[in-house]
């Protein structure tokens, strides 16, 4: 598995070259959000708004009303928890094409609870007009800006930075509101997002080796959540479904799937794996294990659905990599 570095940094330059009306707004974290090169290349399209996210959000609305396409770069927590009213009333209500690039989503930062956006999806799924994307690898980082640009309204992106694996072929870009099928099977459905997809791929490989027929799909569009292939997969899975996400266990992918199950009368069991509450500052690998959003917990959830122990150990799952994101 290839590890790509600073994919957004490069992709943003490509994207900006194609769209001269694209501007970047920063709240003093641009260098932590891979737009240092953008600033060097397009200094007149890089607007520092200071450590003042509320004004940045409404200011972006003014720019968007004049035909610019603002891309706000800061940490995800500061783009929803701190400025929800501005996001809603300045941008989402008028359905303006403003893109919120939320970096270090979920527990991908050791910065502790103030920096960890564990409920951004849950909060923002209730915001009308807003689309939510949650990228899972370098290929999706390369494709998500184009999807955001084409969306008719505001977009929130949970963006990954620095070393990110390339899990999906570079020539198979992310598609709007369409899950990516990573494994076909009938026993259980695994729906994963963000950094949990790599975990789920590890678990799926081991589960399949034990004879479990696994349908694994990676979800990158969390709102809207009307993908018919997800509905079909939920109807197909014999024992039920597991969701695993880099997010609080309430409000995110798992809750979205639960709504689909109920609304379509599918009547399957669902195990939601997410962080159980507020988290604390530590390395990504430590936090994923501690809060249970790793391959081992996914295996346990599948065992629960099957009603059968599979006797899979950490060692069975261990050969794949983990990269820690140590910098805040």
């Amino acid at each position: 598995m290839k590890i790509e570095v600073n994919t957004h940094e490069k992709n943003m330059l490509r994207f900006a070259a194609a769209h001269p009306e694209v501007v970047v707004l920063s709240a003093d974290l641009g260098t932590s959000c891979e737009v240092k090169q953008f600033r060097a290349t397009y200094p007149d399209r890089y607007f520092t708004l200071g450590i003042a996210e509320q004004n940045m959000c409404s200011w972006a609305a003014g720019l968007a009303r004049e035909g610019y396409r603002p891309f706000l770069h800061t940490f995800s927590v500061f783009l929803y928890r701190r400025i929800l009213d501005q996001l809603e009333m300045s941008v989402a209500y008028p359905n303006l094409p403003v893109v919120f690039l939320g970096f270090v989503p979920g527990i991908t930062t050791p910065g502790g609870v103030t920096h960890q956006s564990i409920n951004d999806v849950g909060v923002l799924r209730t915001v009308p007009n807003l689309a939510i994307f949650d990228v899972g690898d370098a290929t999706e980082i390369e494709g998500v800006l184009d999807l955001a640009y084409d969306y008719n309204g505001p977009v929130f992106i949970r963006m990954l930075r620095k070393e990110v694996p390339r899990l999906f072929p570079a020539d198979a870009p992310m598609q709007f509101n369409r899950a990516r099928v990573l494994s076909e099977g009938e026993d259980v459905l695994i729906l994963s997002s963000s950094i949990c997809t790599e975990e789920a791929m590890r678990a799926t490989a081991v589960l399949k080796a034990r004879g479990v027929s696994v349908q694994h799909m990676h979800v990158s569009t969390l709102k809207p959540f009307t993908d018919p292939t997800v509905v079909a997969a939920l109807e197909k899975c014999r024992y039920g479904a597991v969701t695993i996400e880099n997010h609080y266990c309430i409000g995110g992918l798992g809750s979205a799937v639960a709504e689909v199950i109920a609304e379509h009368g599918i009547g399957k069991r669902l195990v939601k794996i997410g962080v159980p509450g507020y988290t604390h500052g530590a390395s990504k690998m430590y936090l994923m294990k501690k809060y249970g959003i790793d391959a081992m917990h996914l295996v346990a959830a599948v065992e629960s659905l099957l009603g059968t122990p599979l006797n899979i150990t950490e060692a069975d799952l261990a050969e794949e990599r983990f990269v820690d994101f140590l910098e805040v």
């Binding site: 007149d44 607007f47 708004l49 200071g50 003042a52 509320q54 004004n55 959000c57 409404s58 200011w59 972006a60 609305a61 003014g62 720019l63 009303r65 004049e66 035909g67 610019y68 009213d85 501005q86 009333m89 300045s90 209500y93 008028p94 359905n95 009308p128 007009n129 008719n152 309204g153």
Partner: protein
């Protein structure tokens, strides 16, 4: 069709008419945002007739049914800004942050020939676009302003965009003084100063009142002039009930920085009985017992 030039007396007559119309609404309905009309009538009349460079209205002459909220399937609804004319590089733009002043804006649009006087009959009527506190579909409103402190940033972002594009028109934002307590207001002023938005003018109806009473009894705001200047804006003060003074203040040169125009006003100007209610004038209710006194003021207008 709207007139092009107005004398000072004509502008004052429009202010008087706005005040009378909104007192009439208060008498008919038992209450409304009357004090805001009393404090801002000259400011808003002066902006529309003496200050703003707006194109001819392209808004519907009559009130319209509520056009639905914006969304991917509904982006072609008539904007409130249509009443300020089509955007053009040399034209001004006018944002209203203090959206409780909606009735004042509607009356002003009608007074200057941008909206049918009959449309005022639809004010605060269920299902129409003339809400008591509207949104961006409401006549005269560029944006959805009910959450205080946001519109000034939206207007400044607009000014920033227009400055980059080389537009010569200015961007005005009408604000109340209560919303100067919002932190976002000062985030905006510092950014507008940083970006040297010499095309941006904040016009503040400094009526010294807010919902819970006199501003000075709620929060420390003064000295506002020093505050605006410290945050990077030019700041001038005027008598907000003096048409010529408002006009003069709005034409203050402010190279390399935005301008704040502090219009000092009273919420009972022109309707003397209101002074007895000061400073509790956010939403004025007129009881049956009080009606004759206010009716007499109305009849004398």
């Amino acid at each position: 069709m709207e007139k092009q030039t107005y004398s000072k007396a004509e502008t004052q007559a429009i202010a008087n008419q706005i005040r009378k119309q909104i007192l009439g609404i208060a008498l008919r309905s038992g209450g409304c945002y009357l004090a805001q009309a009393c404090s801002s009538a000259e400011i808003i009349a002066t902006l529309y007739t003496q200050v703003l460079n707006l194109g001819p209205s392209v808004g519907a002459w009559d009130a319209l049914p509520f056009p639905g909220v914006p969304g991917p399937e509904n982006m072609d609804y008539q904007r409130g800004s249509a009443y300020h004319g089509l955007p053009a590089p040399d034209r001004d733009r006018f944002f209203v942050s203090c959206c409780h002043y909606a009735s004042v804006i509607y009356c002003a649009l009608a007074a200057v020939g941008r909206l049918s006087p009959a449309a005022l009959d639809k004010f605060n009527v269920d299902g129409w676009n003339m809400e008591m506190i509207g949104a961006e579909h409401s006549p005269g409103f560029e944006n959805t302003a009910g959450s205080l402190g946001q519109t000034v940033s939206i207007a400044a972002g607009t000014a920033h965009a227009r400055k980059r594009k080389g537009d010569t028109g200015r961007v005005f934002c009408l604000m109340g003084d209560g919303e100067l307590q919002e932190g976002q207001t000062w985030e905006c002023v510092q950014a507008a100063g940083y970006y040297k938005l010499d095309n941006f003018v904040m016009v503040i109806d400094a009526n010294g009142q807010q919902v819970e009473g006199a501003i000075e009894n709620q929060m420390a705001e003064e000295p506002l002039t020093a505050r605006f200047r410290a945050f990077g804006a030019a700041c001038v003060t005027c008598d907000g009930h003096d048409v010529a003074a408002v006009r003069r203040a709005c034409s203050t040169k402010h190279p390399d920085r935005p301008l704040a125009v502090l219009c000092r006003t009273k919420g009972y100007t022109g309707v003397p009985p209101l002074e007895k209610k000061w400073p509790f004038l956010h939403f004025v209710r007129i009881s049956e017992a009080e009606k004759p006194e206010y009716q007499a003021v109305y009849d004398a207008m």
